[in-house]
């Protein structure tokens, strides 16, 4: 099991996993989300080959209404 911090929340899921696996696990569309992995932006084509490790800090952001 991996324990990671996603958007400030602790989440557990099965290892091994890529960032793309994490998005699928969370039922998120990779085209609608931008991923920051331990403060580094990960481009969409790299999500599938970027491994998630225990203790990683992941931010998943998108556009919301704003002025």
């Amino acid at each position: 099991m991996l324990r990671v911090h996603v958007n400030g929340e602790s989440r557990e899921f099965n290892a091994p996993a890529s960032l793309l696996d994490l998005l699928r696990f969370l039922d998120l569309d990779p085209r609608m989300v931008v991923v920051e992995h331990n403060r580094e932006i990960v481009r969409r084509p790299e999500l599938g080959n970027t491994a998630v490790s225990d203790g990683d800090k992941i931010e998943l952001v998108h556009f919301v209404g704003g002025g």
Partner: protein, 265 residues
Amino acid sequence: MTTAAVASVDLPLVVGGRQFRSRLMVGTGKYRDNESMVRAIEASGAEIVTVAVRRVDLDRKKTDGVLYHLDPTHHFLLANTAGCYSAAEAVRYARLAREAGFNDFLKLEVIGDRETLLPDVAGLLEAAAVLIKDGFQVMAYTNDDLVTALRLEDMGCVAVMPLASPIGSGLGLVNPYGIRTIKRRLSVPVIVDAGVGTASDACVTMEQGVDGILMNTAIAEATDPAAMAAAMRHAVEAGRLAFLAGRMPRREVAAPSSPTTGLLG
């Protein structure tokens, strides 16, 4: 009809090499629901629509993303760095926004005070320098200070966006002199951002000669947002036309409109 009248005497707005027909830009925040937002944006005629970058809500992810409601091929999405209180934070949000893959334009905000949401000018200049070097087309939200506006232009910002009054205040244009001075001295577009409360504010602002207005709360918090959006569209066009038309001089005495000759004896 009004749009055609404006088009016959006006040029398109050009920001960072891109042309826009509408001089009204609108935000997407604070609407009571997505349907009223979509209808208001449609009624505003705006092409540039601002959005904010926030964490995905892991529990109700499909409902809050603005892109589930706005067609990004139909609007020019302008990401902001609202809510950032330091240059470093603003740079982080800007890079995340660009990664969404729409464009490299950014409405840069660095806020300095939680009560007034007035800009932190030092942080703004610092962030603008980093982001311009990084290839962003920076549109900088700033105060009504000429010297800051000049610095932002010198650094390479593609537009300078002074406030009419504080964000969400609806106080209207509190310093017309300051805004006119900025417009007179800058070559890049000057787009007034924040503070407009109703259509007359938008009209008066455009009459100062600025290149456009960005607004959110005035439309979103109106009782009927779509009607207010339409009013703003007309007000921006009316103010622009009045500016281009050139107003009559102000006089301290009356001047009759009807002939003073040919009166009965």
